[in-house]
Protein backbone atom coordinates (compact mmCIF):
# COMPACT_ATOMS: atom_id res chain seq x y z
CA UNK A 1 0.00 0.00 0.00
CA UNK A 2 1.54 3.32 -0.95
CA UNK A 3 1.59 6.46 1.09
CA UNK A 4 -0.15 9.69 0.12
CA UNK A 5 2.01 12.23 -1.68
CA UNK A 6 4.01 14.74 0.29
CA UNK A 7 6.96 17.02 -0.22
CA UNK A 8 10.19 16.44 1.65
CA UNK A 9 12.81 18.94 2.79
CA UNK A 10 16.12 18.15 4.41
CA UNK A 11 17.35 21.19 6.32
CA UNK A 12 21.07 21.21 7.07
CA UNK A 13 20.77 23.06 10.37
CA UNK A 14 18.40 23.35 13.28
CA UNK A 15 17.82 27.01 12.41
CA UNK A 16 16.76 26.12 8.90
CA UNK A 17 14.44 23.39 10.19
CA UNK A 18 12.81 25.84 12.61
CA UNK A 19 12.36 28.43 9.86
CA UNK A 20 10.58 25.86 7.69
CA UNK A 21 8.36 24.78 10.58
CA UNK A 22 7.45 28.43 11.19
CA UNK A 23 6.64 29.11 7.54
CA UNK A 24 4.90 25.92 6.47
CA UNK A 25 1.70 25.32 8.37
CA UNK A 26 1.24 21.71 7.50
CA UNK A 27 4.74 20.33 8.01
CA UNK A 28 5.60 17.22 10.01
CA UNK A 29 9.08 16.60 11.39
CA UNK A 30 10.40 13.09 10.78
CA UNK A 31 13.24 11.33 12.58
CA UNK A 32 12.77 7.56 12.82
CA UNK A 33 9.36 7.70 11.19
CA UNK A 34 8.01 4.61 12.92
CA UNK A 35 4.85 6.47 13.93
CA UNK A 36 4.61 8.99 11.09
CA UNK A 37 5.05 6.49 8.23
CA UNK A 38 2.42 4.16 9.68
CA UNK A 39 0.00 7.05 10.24
CA UNK A 40 0.56 8.44 6.74
CA UNK A 41 0.06 5.01 5.21
CA UNK A 42 -3.17 4.60 7.18
CA UNK A 43 -4.26 8.06 6.06
CA UNK A 44 -4.68 9.33 9.62
CA UNK A 45 -1.94 11.93 9.21
CA UNK A 46 -1.57 13.77 5.90
CA UNK A 47 1.16 16.40 6.16
CA UNK A 48 1.83 18.45 3.04
CA UNK A 49 5.51 18.55 3.86
CA UNK A 50 7.82 16.25 5.81
CA UNK A 51 10.85 17.88 7.42
CA UNK A 52 13.75 15.49 7.87
CA UNK A 53 15.33 16.23 11.24
CA UNK A 54 17.10 12.87 11.63
CA UNK A 55 20.51 14.21 10.66
CA UNK A 56 20.44 17.42 12.75
CA UNK A 57 23.37 17.29 15.13
CA UNK A 58 21.56 19.22 17.88
CA UNK A 59 19.10 16.33 18.16
CA UNK A 60 21.70 13.63 18.75
CA UNK A 61 23.81 12.24 21.52
CA UNK A 62 23.48 11.31 25.17
CA UNK A 63 25.54 13.61 27.39
CA UNK A 64 26.13 13.90 31.08
CA UNK A 65 27.11 17.12 32.84
CA UNK A 66 27.89 17.57 36.54
CA UNK A 67 24.21 17.70 37.31
CA UNK A 68 22.19 16.50 34.35
CA UNK A 69 21.74 13.84 31.70
CA UNK A 70 20.71 15.22 28.31
CA UNK A 71 19.33 13.01 25.55
CA UNK A 72 18.97 14.32 22.00
CA UNK A 73 15.43 13.92 20.71
CA UNK A 74 16.53 11.90 17.66
CA UNK A 75 18.35 9.34 19.81
CA UNK A 76 17.00 5.91 18.98
CA UNK A 77 15.63 3.54 21.59
CA UNK A 78 18.44 1.11 20.64
CA UNK A 79 21.06 3.80 21.28
CA UNK A 80 19.55 4.45 24.70
CA UNK A 81 19.66 0.73 25.48
CA UNK A 82 23.38 0.71 24.78
CA UNK A 83 24.28 3.94 26.52
CA UNK A 84 26.75 3.55 29.41
CA UNK A 85 25.54 6.93 30.73
CA UNK A 86 21.96 5.72 31.02
CA UNK A 87 23.08 2.34 32.37
CA UNK A 88 24.83 4.25 35.16
CA UNK A 89 22.30 6.97 35.90
CA UNK A 90 18.87 5.85 34.69
CA UNK A 91 18.30 2.11 34.68
CA UNK A 92 14.57 2.78 34.96
CA UNK A 93 14.72 4.31 31.48
CA UNK A 94 16.90 1.49 30.14
CA UNK A 95 14.33 -1.02 31.40
CA UNK A 96 11.57 0.89 29.67
CA UNK A 97 13.58 0.89 26.44
CA UNK A 98 14.19 -2.85 26.67
CA UNK A 99 10.44 -3.48 26.64
CA UNK A 100 9.84 -1.01 23.80
CA UNK A 101 8.16 -2.61 20.72
CA UNK A 102 10.69 -5.00 19.21
CA UNK A 103 14.33 -5.13 18.19
CA UNK A 104 13.73 -3.86 14.63
CA UNK A 105 11.57 -0.90 15.68
CA UNK A 106 14.00 0.07 18.44
CA UNK A 107 16.64 0.64 15.78
CA UNK A 108 14.51 3.40 14.19
CA UNK A 109 12.13 4.79 16.82
CA UNK A 110 13.40 7.80 18.75
CA UNK A 111 12.76 9.11 22.24
CA UNK A 112 11.61 12.45 20.84
CA UNK A 113 9.15 10.76 18.52
CA UNK A 114 7.81 8.64 21.34
CA UNK A 115 7.21 11.71 23.53
CA UNK A 116 5.82 13.99 20.80
CA UNK A 117 3.39 11.31 19.65
CA UNK A 118 2.12 11.13 23.24
CA UNK A 119 0.45 7.77 22.78
CA UNK A 120 -1.21 6.58 26.00
CA UNK A 121 1.06 3.51 25.91
CA UNK A 122 4.38 5.35 25.51
CA UNK A 123 7.05 3.34 27.32
CA UNK A 124 9.63 6.09 27.63
CA UNK A 125 7.20 8.62 29.13
CA UNK A 126 6.53 6.90 32.49
CA UNK A 127 10.25 6.18 33.01
CA UNK A 128 11.15 9.78 32.19
CA UNK A 129 8.35 11.04 34.45
CA UNK A 130 9.92 9.23 37.42
CA UNK A 131 13.19 10.98 36.51
CA UNK A 132 11.34 14.33 36.64
CA UNK A 133 12.46 14.96 33.07
CA UNK A 134 12.14 18.20 31.16
CA UNK A 135 11.81 18.60 27.41
CA UNK A 136 13.43 21.39 25.41
CA UNK A 137 11.34 22.87 22.61
CA UNK A 138 12.86 25.13 19.98
CA UNK A 139 11.24 27.47 17.49
CA UNK A 140 12.22 30.64 15.64
CA UNK A 141 10.78 32.45 18.65
CA UNK A 142 13.35 30.84 20.95
CA UNK A 143 13.76 27.92 23.31
CA UNK A 144 11.62 26.81 26.20
CA UNK A 145 12.06 24.08 28.74
CA UNK A 146 8.95 22.37 30.02
CA UNK A 147 8.51 19.59 32.58
CA UNK A 148 7.50 16.42 30.74
CA UNK A 149 4.49 16.16 33.02
CA UNK A 150 3.21 19.49 31.65
CA UNK A 151 4.28 18.68 28.09
CA UNK A 152 1.96 15.65 27.97
CA UNK A 153 -1.59 16.98 27.85
CA UNK A 154 -3.85 14.20 26.67
CA UNK A 155 -3.89 11.18 24.38
CA UNK A 156 -1.84 12.14 21.29
CA UNK A 157 -1.77 15.72 22.49
CA UNK A 158 1.10 17.80 23.86
CA UNK A 159 1.73 21.50 24.38
CA UNK A 160 4.11 21.52 21.40
CA UNK A 161 3.07 24.21 18.92
CA UNK A 162 3.23 23.34 15.25
CA UNK A 163 6.32 25.53 14.71
CA UNK A 164 8.21 23.92 17.60
CA UNK A 165 10.66 21.05 17.47
CA UNK A 166 11.46 18.83 20.43
CA UNK A 167 15.24 19.10 20.67
CA UNK A 168 16.18 17.17 23.78
CA UNK A 169 14.99 15.68 27.02
CA UNK A 170 16.95 16.10 30.22
CA UNK A 171 16.82 15.14 33.87
CA UNK A 172 18.88 15.71 36.98
CA UNK A 173 21.25 12.88 37.81
CA UNK A 174 19.43 10.86 40.48
CA UNK A 175 21.14 10.54 43.87
CA UNK A 176 23.56 7.66 44.21
CA UNK A 177 21.16 5.81 46.47
CA UNK A 178 17.99 6.33 44.41
CA UNK A 179 16.63 3.17 42.88
CA UNK A 180 14.17 2.73 40.06
CA UNK A 181 12.01 -0.05 38.65
CA UNK A 182 9.83 -0.44 35.58
CA UNK A 183 7.35 -3.08 34.43
CA UNK A 184 5.23 -3.38 31.35
CA UNK A 185 2.13 -5.53 31.15
CA UNK A 186 1.09 -6.38 27.61
CA UNK A 187 -0.62 -9.15 25.69
CA UNK A 188 2.73 -10.66 24.68
CA UNK A 189 6.25 -10.53 25.99
CA UNK A 190 7.51 -8.48 23.06
CA UNK A 191 6.31 -6.39 20.17
CA UNK A 192 3.14 -5.31 21.88
CA UNK A 193 1.67 -2.09 23.10
CA UNK A 194 1.55 -1.69 26.85
CA UNK A 195 -1.72 -2.49 28.54
CA UNK A 196 -0.20 -0.98 31.66
CA UNK A 197 3.25 0.48 32.35
CA UNK A 198 4.36 1.39 35.84
CA UNK A 199 7.66 3.04 36.72
CA UNK A 200 8.86 3.93 40.20
CA UNK A 201 11.85 5.71 41.69
CA UNK A 202 12.57 5.68 45.41
CA UNK A 203 15.22 7.23 47.59
CA UNK A 204 15.75 6.77 51.30
CA UNK A 205 17.95 7.70 54.24
CA UNK A 206 20.11 5.45 56.39
CA UNK A 207 17.27 5.01 58.85
CA UNK A 208 15.20 3.33 56.15
CA UNK A 209 12.82 6.25 55.67
CA UNK A 210 11.67 7.22 52.21
CA UNK A 211 13.04 10.64 51.28
CA UNK A 212 11.71 10.77 47.75
CA UNK A 213 9.18 8.77 45.76
CA UNK A 214 8.06 9.05 42.18
CA UNK A 215 5.50 6.79 40.56
CA UNK A 216 4.33 7.05 36.97
CA UNK A 217 1.72 5.11 35.04
CA UNK A 218 1.13 4.76 31.30
CA UNK A 219 -1.57 3.14 29.18
CA UNK A 220 -4.06 3.25 32.05
CA UNK A 221 -5.12 6.84 31.40
CA UNK A 222 -5.28 9.02 28.27
CA UNK A 223 -1.62 9.94 28.68
CA UNK A 224 1.17 8.95 31.07
CA UNK A 225 0.70 10.47 34.54
CA UNK A 226 2.46 10.78 37.88
CA UNK A 227 0.69 9.30 40.89
CA UNK A 228 1.29 12.30 43.15
CA UNK A 229 -0.92 11.27 46.05
CA UNK A 230 0.77 7.88 46.23
CA UNK A 231 4.17 9.56 46.19
CA UNK A 232 3.21 11.96 48.98
CA UNK A 233 1.97 9.07 51.09
CA UNK A 234 5.41 7.45 51.04
CA UNK A 235 7.73 10.38 51.66
CA UNK A 236 8.93 10.54 55.28
CA UNK A 237 7.64 7.05 56.07
CA UNK A 238 9.43 3.78 56.64
CA UNK A 239 9.01 1.57 53.57
CA UNK A 240 6.97 -1.07 55.35
CA UNK A 241 4.65 -3.52 53.59
CA UNK A 242 1.71 -1.49 54.92
CA UNK A 243 3.07 1.79 53.57
CA UNK A 244 3.77 0.19 50.21
CA UNK A 245 0.29 -1.34 50.04
CA UNK A 246 -1.33 1.99 50.87
CA UNK A 247 0.74 3.81 48.24
CA UNK A 248 -0.06 1.19 45.60
CA UNK A 249 -3.78 1.59 46.29
CA UNK A 250 -3.40 5.37 45.88
CA UNK A 251 -1.43 4.85 42.65
CA UNK A 252 -4.39 3.01 41.16
CA UNK A 253 -6.54 6.07 41.86
CA UNK A 254 -4.27 8.17 39.68
CA UNK A 255 -5.13 5.94 36.73
CA UNK A 256 -8.19 6.64 34.62
CA UNK A 257 -8.73 3.75 32.23
CA UNK A 258 -11.70 3.55 29.89
CA UNK A 259 -14.74 1.86 31.41
CA UNK A 260 -14.20 -1.40 29.56
CA UNK A 261 -10.64 -1.54 30.92
CA UNK A 262 -11.43 -1.23 34.60
CA UNK A 263 -9.24 -4.25 35.22
CA UNK A 264 -6.26 -1.93 34.69
CA UNK A 265 -6.87 -0.36 38.09
CA UNK A 266 -6.05 -3.67 39.70
CA UNK A 267 -3.05 -4.15 37.43
CA UNK A 268 -1.68 -0.72 38.33
CA UNK A 269 -2.08 -1.46 42.02
CA UNK A 270 -0.39 -4.85 41.73
CA UNK A 271 2.49 -3.58 39.62
CA UNK A 272 3.00 -0.54 41.85
CA UNK A 273 3.08 -2.79 44.91
CA UNK A 274 5.63 -5.12 43.34
CA UNK A 275 7.84 -2.37 41.95
CA UNK A 276 7.80 -0.36 45.17
CA UNK A 277 8.72 -3.50 47.08
CA UNK A 278 11.53 -4.21 44.61
CA UNK A 279 12.88 -0.67 44.84
CA UNK A 280 12.52 -0.57 48.63
CA UNK A 281 14.47 -3.80 48.94
CA UNK A 282 17.21 -2.50 46.64
CA UNK A 283 17.39 0.65 48.79
CA UNK A 284 17.95 -1.33 51.99
CA UNK A 285 20.73 -3.16 50.20
CA UNK A 286 22.57 0.11 49.89
CA UNK A 287 20.82 1.37 46.80
CA UNK A 288 21.53 0.61 43.22
CA UNK A 289 21.44 3.07 40.39
CA UNK A 290 18.24 4.71 39.35
Amino acid sequence: MSLPQFEVVQPATLGEALRILSEVKDAAPIAGGTNLIVDMRAGTHRPRMVVDVAALRDLHGIEVTDTEVIIGAATTIAEMLESPILAKHATVLVKACSSFANALIRNRATVGGNLVTAAPCSDTAPALLTLDAEVKLASVRGMRRVPLEKFLVNAFSTIRRSDELLVSVRFRIPSATATGAFRKMGLRKVSCMAKVDVAVMLDGDSAGRCTSARIAIAAASPVAVRARAAEAALVGKALTPEAIAAAAALAARAAAPRARSEYKLRVVEALARRLLAEAALALTRGGSSA
Binding site: M1, S2, L3, P4, Q5, F6, E7, V8, I30, G32, G33, T34, I37, V38, M40, R41, V50, D52, A54, A78, A101, N102, A103, L104, I105, N107, R108, V190, S191
Partner: protein, 196 residues
Protein backbone atom coordinates in the same frame (compact mmCIF):
# COMPACT_ATOMS: atom_id res chain seq x y z
CA UNK B 1 5.76 16.54 -5.90
CA UNK B 2 9.41 16.95 -6.84
CA UNK B 3 11.16 13.63 -7.05
CA UNK B 4 14.00 12.91 -4.71
CA UNK B 5 17.38 11.89 -6.06
CA UNK B 6 18.34 8.81 -4.13
CA UNK B 7 21.35 6.56 -4.31
CA UNK B 8 20.63 3.08 -2.99
CA UNK B 9 23.62 0.80 -2.49
CA UNK B 10 22.16 -2.67 -2.29
CA UNK B 11 24.23 -5.82 -1.83
CA UNK B 12 27.22 -3.97 -3.26
CA UNK B 13 25.39 -2.61 -6.32
CA UNK B 14 24.69 1.07 -6.72
CA UNK B 15 21.34 2.35 -8.01
CA UNK B 16 20.84 6.02 -8.83
CA UNK B 17 17.15 6.78 -8.68
CA UNK B 18 14.68 9.66 -8.74
CA UNK B 19 11.83 8.64 -6.50
CA UNK B 20 8.63 10.17 -5.21
CA UNK B 21 9.20 11.09 -1.55
CA UNK B 22 6.44 8.71 -0.46
CA UNK B 23 8.12 5.56 -1.80
CA UNK B 24 9.18 3.25 1.01
CA UNK B 25 12.54 1.52 0.97
CA UNK B 26 10.60 -1.76 0.81
CA UNK B 27 8.79 -0.70 -2.35
CA UNK B 28 11.96 0.69 -3.94
CA UNK B 29 13.89 -2.50 -3.26
CA UNK B 30 11.16 -4.76 -4.63
CA UNK B 31 10.76 -2.55 -7.71
CA UNK B 32 14.51 -2.94 -8.29
CA UNK B 33 14.07 -6.70 -8.21
CA UNK B 34 15.20 -7.43 -4.66
CA UNK B 35 12.12 -9.54 -4.09
CA UNK B 36 13.77 -11.53 -1.32
CA UNK B 37 12.67 -8.53 0.77
CA UNK B 38 9.11 -9.57 1.62
CA UNK B 39 6.12 -7.31 1.99
CA UNK B 40 4.21 -8.44 5.06
CA UNK B 41 2.29 -6.12 7.34
CA UNK B 42 3.62 -2.67 6.37
CA UNK B 43 3.24 -1.50 9.96
CA UNK B 44 6.49 -2.74 11.45
CA UNK B 45 5.00 -5.74 13.21
CA UNK B 46 6.20 -8.74 11.20
CA UNK B 47 9.82 -8.14 10.15
CA UNK B 48 9.46 -9.91 6.79
CA UNK B 49 10.87 -6.81 5.08
CA UNK B 50 13.94 -6.53 7.33
CA UNK B 51 17.20 -5.41 5.74
CA UNK B 52 20.52 -4.25 7.10
CA UNK B 53 20.86 -0.47 6.88
CA UNK B 54 24.51 0.39 7.58
CA UNK B 55 24.72 -2.85 9.53
CA UNK B 56 21.59 -2.29 11.61
CA UNK B 57 18.49 -4.42 11.08
CA UNK B 58 15.41 -2.32 10.26
CA UNK B 59 11.96 -2.81 8.78
CA UNK B 60 12.26 -1.49 5.22
CA UNK B 61 8.49 -0.74 5.23
CA UNK B 62 9.18 1.87 7.91
CA UNK B 63 11.98 3.62 6.08
CA UNK B 64 11.30 6.00 3.23
CA UNK B 65 13.64 5.31 0.33
CA UNK B 66 15.24 8.78 0.51
CA UNK B 67 16.04 8.19 4.19
CA UNK B 68 18.36 5.39 3.01
CA UNK B 69 20.16 7.66 0.55
CA UNK B 70 23.82 6.65 0.42
CA UNK B 71 23.46 3.97 3.08
CA UNK B 72 24.81 0.47 2.69
CA UNK B 73 21.83 -1.87 2.34
CA UNK B 74 22.13 -5.64 2.60
CA UNK B 75 19.24 -8.00 1.93
CA UNK B 76 19.07 -11.72 2.57
CA UNK B 77 20.15 -12.40 -1.03
CA UNK B 78 23.19 -10.20 -0.46
CA UNK B 79 24.44 -12.51 2.27
CA UNK B 80 24.65 -15.57 0.08
CA UNK B 81 23.24 -17.40 -2.90
CA UNK B 82 21.95 -20.93 -3.50
CA UNK B 83 25.43 -21.92 -4.69
CA UNK B 84 27.24 -20.12 -1.94
CA UNK B 85 24.90 -19.78 1.00
CA UNK B 86 25.89 -17.80 4.05
CA UNK B 87 26.44 -20.01 7.12
CA UNK B 88 23.29 -18.49 8.63
CA UNK B 89 21.24 -19.44 5.59
CA UNK B 90 22.84 -22.89 5.58
CA UNK B 91 21.95 -23.37 9.23
CA UNK B 92 18.30 -22.40 8.62
CA UNK B 93 18.16 -24.99 5.83
CA UNK B 94 20.00 -27.70 7.74
CA UNK B 95 17.82 -27.38 10.83
CA UNK B 96 14.62 -27.10 8.79
CA UNK B 97 13.81 -23.71 10.29
CA UNK B 98 11.60 -22.87 7.34
CA UNK B 99 8.12 -23.87 6.37
CA UNK B 100 6.50 -21.46 3.94
CA UNK B 101 9.71 -19.43 4.03
CA UNK B 102 8.08 -16.01 3.94
CA UNK B 103 9.57 -14.86 7.23
CA UNK B 104 12.97 -16.43 6.57
CA UNK B 105 14.75 -13.55 4.79
CA UNK B 106 13.87 -11.24 7.68
CA UNK B 107 14.84 -13.85 10.25
CA UNK B 108 18.21 -14.29 8.52
CA UNK B 109 18.79 -10.52 8.52
CA UNK B 110 17.99 -10.17 12.23
CA UNK B 111 20.25 -13.14 12.93
CA UNK B 112 23.07 -11.54 10.96
CA UNK B 113 22.71 -8.29 12.91
CA UNK B 114 22.72 -10.23 16.17
CA UNK B 115 25.75 -12.44 15.43
CA UNK B 116 27.78 -9.50 14.13
CA UNK B 117 27.44 -7.89 17.55
CA UNK B 118 27.19 -10.92 19.75
CA UNK B 119 28.85 -14.04 18.33
CA UNK B 120 27.75 -16.28 21.21
CA UNK B 121 24.22 -15.27 22.19
CA UNK B 122 22.13 -16.99 24.85
CA UNK B 123 18.70 -18.32 23.95
CA UNK B 124 17.12 -15.29 25.63
CA UNK B 125 19.31 -12.94 23.59
CA UNK B 126 18.36 -14.77 20.39
CA UNK B 127 14.64 -14.50 21.20
CA UNK B 128 15.09 -10.80 21.96
CA UNK B 129 16.97 -10.18 18.71
CA UNK B 130 14.24 -11.96 16.71
CA UNK B 131 11.44 -10.23 18.62
CA UNK B 132 10.52 -8.15 15.57
CA UNK B 133 10.22 -11.16 13.25
CA UNK B 134 7.02 -13.17 13.22
CA UNK B 135 6.69 -16.74 11.93
CA UNK B 136 3.11 -17.90 11.49
CA UNK B 137 3.84 -21.44 10.26
CA UNK B 138 5.97 -23.47 12.47
CA UNK B 139 6.90 -21.74 15.67
CA UNK B 140 10.23 -20.60 16.84
CA UNK B 141 11.95 -23.72 18.20
CA UNK B 142 13.83 -24.61 15.05
CA UNK B 143 14.55 -20.99 14.23
CA UNK B 144 16.29 -20.57 17.60
CA UNK B 145 18.16 -23.81 16.92
CA UNK B 146 19.26 -22.53 13.51
CA UNK B 147 20.66 -19.34 15.05
CA UNK B 148 22.55 -21.40 17.63
CA UNK B 149 23.94 -23.65 14.90
CA UNK B 150 24.96 -20.68 12.77
CA UNK B 151 26.64 -19.06 15.79
CA UNK B 152 28.69 -22.16 16.56
CA UNK B 153 29.68 -22.67 12.90
CA UNK B 154 30.75 -19.04 12.54
CA UNK B 155 32.72 -19.23 15.76
CA UNK B 156 34.49 -22.39 14.64
CA UNK B 157 35.26 -20.71 11.34
CA UNK B 158 36.78 -17.68 13.05
CA UNK B 159 38.85 -19.90 15.31
CA UNK B 160 40.10 -21.89 12.31
CA UNK B 161 41.09 -18.69 10.51
CA UNK B 162 42.88 -17.40 13.59
CA UNK B 163 44.76 -20.69 13.88
CA UNK B 164 46.07 -20.53 10.33
CA UNK B 165 49.80 -20.03 9.74
CA UNK B 166 50.63 -16.46 8.81
CA UNK B 167 51.45 -17.26 5.18
CA UNK B 168 48.08 -18.81 4.41
CA UNK B 169 46.32 -16.07 6.36
CA UNK B 170 47.84 -13.55 3.97
CA UNK B 171 46.56 -15.61 1.07
CA UNK B 172 43.11 -15.74 2.61
CA UNK B 173 43.07 -11.96 2.90
CA UNK B 174 43.73 -11.72 -0.80
CA UNK B 175 40.85 -14.11 -1.40
CA UNK B 176 38.67 -11.97 0.82
CA UNK B 177 39.37 -8.90 -1.27
CA UNK B 178 38.42 -10.60 -4.49
CA UNK B 179 35.04 -11.71 -3.25
CA UNK B 180 31.93 -10.36 -4.91
CA UNK B 181 30.92 -7.16 -3.14
CA UNK B 182 27.52 -8.51 -2.18
CA UNK B 183 28.94 -11.04 0.23
CA UNK B 184 29.57 -9.48 3.55
CA UNK B 185 30.60 -10.41 6.99
CA UNK B 186 31.91 -13.92 6.89
CA UNK B 187 35.39 -14.53 8.12
CA UNK B 188 36.30 -16.92 5.39
CA UNK B 189 33.69 -18.39 3.09
CA UNK B 190 36.24 -19.81 0.70
CA UNK B 191 37.64 -22.40 3.05
CA UNK B 192 34.32 -23.13 4.73
CA UNK B 193 33.14 -25.45 2.03
CA UNK B 194 36.12 -27.72 2.60
CA UNK B 195 35.13 -28.36 6.20
CA UNK B 196 32.05 -29.89 7.72
Amino acid sequence: MPRKKTVLRVNGRQHELALDPNVSLLQALRDLGYIDVKNGCEIGECGACAVLLNGTAVNSCMVLAWQANGAEIVTNAGLGTLDKPHPIQEAFADVGAVQCGYCTPGMVISTKALLDRNPDPSEAEIREALSGNLCRCTGYGQIIEAVQLAASRLQAERLAVAAMPTASLTRERVDEGSRSPGRVGEANPGSRRGRT
